[in-house]
Symmetry: C2
Subunit: 432 residues, 2 copies
């Protein structure tokens, strides 16, 4: 596709130089080539124009932690103690998952994410070839990894590692670069040290970043101390994981020293407020992480523990919860909350070409219908996006310069079929 | 309008006998006359039928605390310390409010609330005749009161009381009973004891319930102790406020003894989680209040401190926050969270004909578009409504048996005009 032009829009750029632009944006292929208040110079030569006057445009949201296929288990079990939820509900169901379940569960998640304005998501699961195929077809951008639990015989461990390596090799850079891969041991409490070290070595060999769960619950931190004499941050540091570009999910229970070490090692954090609240894990120390200079981003976690994948909900939660818990209404102000889901996401997944609307960056962006009561009056559009917007306000989505959602409808996915197939998968899983 | 029938719908009734009915509902005038799995007996005689097969129906939501006209100040000032926010931003702007500002600010709020599924709202403000006229026109149900601050000369106090009494008399039972009135001294820290007592006396004389702000911030509780030697609950109890049917907003900072006294006096609590978090007031002890048998409901507070009026956001927050803060994932389970916004609301405002779908009750109810990815798979519709739904999923709204929103469009309000007028009011206020 040649150049095209959005006229007279309101653009929340996330670019510090000019956070809100009322004007114009030009896209050429997969890139933004112009954004500014003035009409583009070559205006007359651009034939494809979109009237942006009733829309707000912003960078596509980046969801930095999740397990998409678990959307099949949305609402299957809620409000249970964590171990009951996992052992009696989640694990027995997941053990029954087939390729088709991962395909349709992931499709359901991708559908929900795209329609609610997420253009890039991180996925840690297994049967990842299925996930990658869905991402390829959907037009979405994905950072994908085979998440491996190491509580198994060494032979199975080796198979899992080999599978993770093969997937990472096969798919890194695929789908015109929309797919990136990482190496991901599941968590310190589910992976023996040697298993984690093997993943670190593989990540070095493949020159890939790493991702893992860390310090989600207090119990898990205490277990780490008992078993290894170290808290999780020091433990993972000793195993070399932070020698790779890396990021951790949750990081709810951190000491000051751990925050300082994460900052020193350049480890990013995926903050998952809804999941952490719902599972009663606690509230991550986000204001302190940000103060220490740690890159923080937002993740939904899976729809089984959230139970939705609308990143606008996480943005609002991040802006609200830390004020209420700290007693300081000035922490995580609106612009910072929006940064978590955009620039913070890009920093977390090490893709600096994402997360902002700026000439030269990737054309991953969304439009919202601003002609609704909750966006009035026109006081502060950033505040409205954080405190009032919902993913249901998203009308259009572009990834890599290509439109994938138009007027709320996914262009590359068969919505009706996905809903029906996901439902059929769940019925079979629940009935079997 | 004569009888009409919703066929083949999914009804979340909130009725303990059968919380979810897949079947039929018949409305006659302002009442629900039948709900059940079987076709209604007089089926053939009912000519008006609605196909409910792609919808979920539930009682209209009840927003038990707010200041609708302050929607004009949405996003005008965020992320500030409470006193800065009030003294430097809110109060100077509110001092400039005219009748027109209250009219259009309230209209903006009513529009947002109706479209997001709220059918009844509590409003405490001034220039209440304007508010009542908007409610009358909109088709919505309102519990309205002149909220009076008593930090003024006695003569002005007397004027305010007279105004509150006159409004309460003029409008109680108006708009075919859709409007109820209450008496409302603003708060213990803004009203001298004698002023509160005068309101209590007037409420006795008029036989009306009472509403006030209470224990929103720690500072306010400490001030009460300093000035009166009592915490707010004992203070209001001594002034006789709890001798009336009454409810308080916020109630964030409560001791066990205060919770017990609220329960004993039958005082209900309007829990405002978003506002309490955003203003960093803290987290109300909702699990303890519920355990003690206090009727708890949900309020948005104003759009200046929330910043939206979508009660589904409050429902989800109520279900999430108390788990995260208490460390117990079983508190405020999904059904209880939904009860807060329905049956809890009805109990709070003392209107037992609202809050459930049941033969004999008022026909105040809403439909949501269930054909969306975040409502799949069909595991648990109550969980989906609490953890995944948004006000933007609401398609139709009926109040008192009359349809007021159809396919997302308000039937009795001119949306375009309201957005334009609210914007003009804000421009004038900000520029003056």
């Amino acid at each position: 596709m040649s150049k095209w032009w959005i006229e007279n829009g309101t653009f929340v750029t996330m670019d510090k130089a000019q956070p809100v632009v009322r004007g114009h944006m030009v896209v050429d292929g997969d890139r933004i080539v112009y954004i500014g208040e003035e009409r583009p110079q070559e205006a007359d030569a651009i034939s494809v124009r979109i009237d942006g006057s009733r829309r707000v445009y912003m960078p596509g949201l980046i969801n930095t932690h999740g397990h998409a296929a678990m959307s099949l288990l949305r609402g299957f079990s809620d409000d249970e103690a964590l171990q009951t939820w996992l052992q009696d509900y989640m694990w027995p169901m997941e053990a029954k998952f087939t390729d088709a379940d991962v395909k349709w569960g992931t499709s359901l998640a991708v559908l929900e994410m795209l329609k609610s304005g997420t253009t890039t998501f991180v996925d840690m699961y297994d049967r990842m070839d299925q996930v990658a195929q869905v991402v390829e077809r959907s037009g979405m951008r994905g950072v994908l990894m085979r998440g491996a639990i190491g509580l198994c015989p060494e032979e199975v461990q080796r198979e899992k590692l080999a599978e993770a390596v093969q997937f990472a090799k096969d798919w890194n850079g695929a789908a015109d670069g929309r797919i990136a891969t990482m190496m991901s041991p599941h968590a310190p409490y589910t992976c023996p040290p040697a298993f984690i070290e093997a993943f670190v070595q593989a990540a070095h060999d493949l020159d890939l970043p790493m991702h893992t769960h860390m310090s989600e619950t207090r119990a898990e931190v205490e277990q780490n101390l008992r078993e290894y004499g170290l808290r999780p941050v020091a433990h993972l540091d000793r195993l070399g994981l932070f020698s790779r570009p890396s990021f951790v999910a949750h990081a709810v229970h951190l000491t000051d020293e751990e925050i300082a070490l994460l900052a020193e090692r350049g480890v990013a954090v995926s903050h998952n407020p809804a999941s952490n609240l719902k599972l009663a894990s606690g509230v991550a120390r986000v204001p302190e992480l940000l103060k220490a200079g740690v890159a923080v981003s937002l993740g939904t976690d899976s729809a089984a523990s959230n139970n939705n994948l609308d990143l606008f909900d996480e943005i609002r939660l991040a802006a609200l919860v830390h004020k209420g818990v700290s007693g300081d209404p000035t922490v995580v102000p609106a612009m910072q909350a929006l940064q978590l889901a955009t620039l913070g996401g890009a920093a977390t997944i090490r893709q600096p070409e994402l997360g902002a609307l700026k000439a030269g960056l990737k054309a991953d962006f969304i439009s919202l219908d601003a002609d609704q009561p909750h966006f009035y009056p026109r006081t502060d559009i950033v505040s409205h996006l954080v405190y009032s917007a919902s993913g249901r306000d998203v009308r259009d989505v572009w990834v890599d310069g290509r439109q994938v959602v138009q007027g709320g409808v996914c262009l590359l996915l068969d919505e009706e079929k996905i809903l029906a197939e996901a439902e059929a998968c769940y019925r079979r899983l629940a009935g079997a």
